[in-house]
């Protein structure tokens, strides 16, 4: 019988920790030692890929990995050790605001001459930059809104209703061809990229894994529901102006109609989502659980911190004329072992 499973392939390991986690997933080796976990740089490739492997079992899994390993107690113990390091570093490194309003104030102001990735792409972005950017972001956008759906059972009343409404919009309002993950796949097609889920994991740098791991961390823990909401608010608040710049970049480079549409849609959608998330989701959650205010602020601060980490690394490479990926894209596209 033909095998209809289409789980992503396991990525190549990036050090002792991710190598051991991968071996455990294949059933061929022991989990990483405590010493290896403690020695790995916290925002580095090895630790972040190991965490990504653990998390991905909760989304689509991997080919050849037993689905039951999602709840394997030994693996969960390792995941917890990785998360302790990740969360500890974020709490130490992210700028911390005491109140939600203070945390949000910084991102509710538009810089007159911003210097972020979307500014770079709008002003100087060439097609190859846009392709690299889309390949990187595909690790999130092909599962757009999924990490945030986990928070729904942990909210109530106004916050829950509003969060579900925004998620419904992210999922295309009941229409498969309007699901935002699908709109992103269409953008990737315009850019000549492979839309297979997980296709660019090997190409994705550590800082991108950090950005996606943050959402999974917040989404999978009820104890971090406040942080998840703060994270989501940050994404929605910063998306609209950023999407406008990216839509301009797509138009200027002639990337294609679907590529423009993904960002055009987000200019308008996220101007609404921002309002709903701030007033209803955050407002409702604070009414129900006022003691979560600091967690919400932390979610905002940690998201800003991790996005800056990614943006700085990417711009450093691009400004030096280098690829921002671990493997150049054309080589990736020709590598048939991944798409078979």
């Amino acid at each position: 019988m033909e095998d209809l499973r289409d789980e992503p392939l396991l990525p190549a390991p990036r050090g002792p920790v991710s190598s051991a986690v991968q071996a455990h997933l294949r059933g061929t080796g022991p989990l990483p030692s405590e010493q290896d976990v403690d020695a790995a740089p916290v925002y580095g490739d090895d630790l972040q890929l190991a965490l990504y492997l653990c998390y991905e079992l909760h989304y689509r899994g991997f080919a050849g990995v037993a689905p039951g390993l999602e709840w394997d107690p030994e693996l969960l113990r390792t995941r917890a050790a990785l998360e302790r390091r990740f969360l500890g570093a974020l709490r130490a490194d992210a700028r911390r605001h005491d109140t939600v309003d203070d945390a949000l104030a910084g991102i509710l102001v538009e810089p007159v001459d911003g210097t972020g990735v979307s500014h770079f792409l709008r002003d100087k972005g060439e097609l190859w930059h846009l392709r690299e950017y889309a390949a990187l972001r595909s690790l999130y956008h092909l599962k757009e809104a999924d990490p945030h759906a986990w928070v729904l059972p942990r909210l109530r009343g106004r916050a829950k209703a509003a969060m579900a409404a925004v998620e419904f919009d992210e999922y295309g309002g009941g229409r498969a061809d309007r699901v935002h993950a699908r709109l992103f796949a269409d953008l990737m097609t315009d850019l000549g990229l492979d839309t297979t889920y997980g296709r660019y994991l090997d190409a994705a740098r550590a800082e991108l894994l950090v950005v996606v791991n943050l959402m999974s961390l917040f989404g999978l823990h009820r104890s971090l529901r406040g942080a998840l909401v703060g994270h989501f608010a940050t994404v929605e608040i910063t998306s609209s102006p950023g999407s406008r710049r990216l839509a301009e970049a797509m138009r200027r480079t002639g990337a294609g109609p679907a590529a423009e549409h993904f960002y055009d849609e987000h200019v308008e959608a996220d101007a609404v989502h921002e309002q709903v998330v701030r007033h209803e989701v955050i407002g409702g959650l604070l009414e129900d659980e006022p003691y979560l205010a600091q967690d919400i602020a932390f979610g905002v601060d940690a998201t800003v911190f991790t996005e800056d980490l990614l943006g700085d690394a990417l711009l450093a490479d691009w400004r030096a004329g280098r690829s921002g990926l671990r493997e150049p894209l054309d080589q990736v596209a020709q590598d048939s072992t991944h798409t078979s």
Binding site: L108, V109, E110, P111, V112, A165, F168, D169, G173, S240, P241, R244, V267, E268, A269, A271, V272, E274, Q275, V276, H279
Partner: protein, 65 residues
């Protein structure tokens, strides 16, 4: 009596700064007589007139620093 949402008045949210929030879907008739529509569950109508996607808010109302 059962709840009948159709009898309920439609709520519009106003704020000192930022868009007018309406329950979607809505049609907006513009000054030149043309009509644009949005079928989103909630619609943000620009009140600052700075939006480049007028009548929809595109966050251009934000302070710049």
């Amino acid at each position: 009596m059962p709840n009948s949402p159709s009898d309920a008045p439609r709520r519009v949210t106003v704020q000192r700064k930022g868009p007018l929030l309406l329950e979607g879907p809505v049609e907006v008739e513009l000054e030149d007589g043309s009509v644009v529509s949005s079928d989103r569950f909630r619609v943000a109508l620009c009140t600052c007139r700075r939006s480049r996607r007028y009548p929809w808010c595109d966050t251009s109302h934000r302070d710049r620093a």
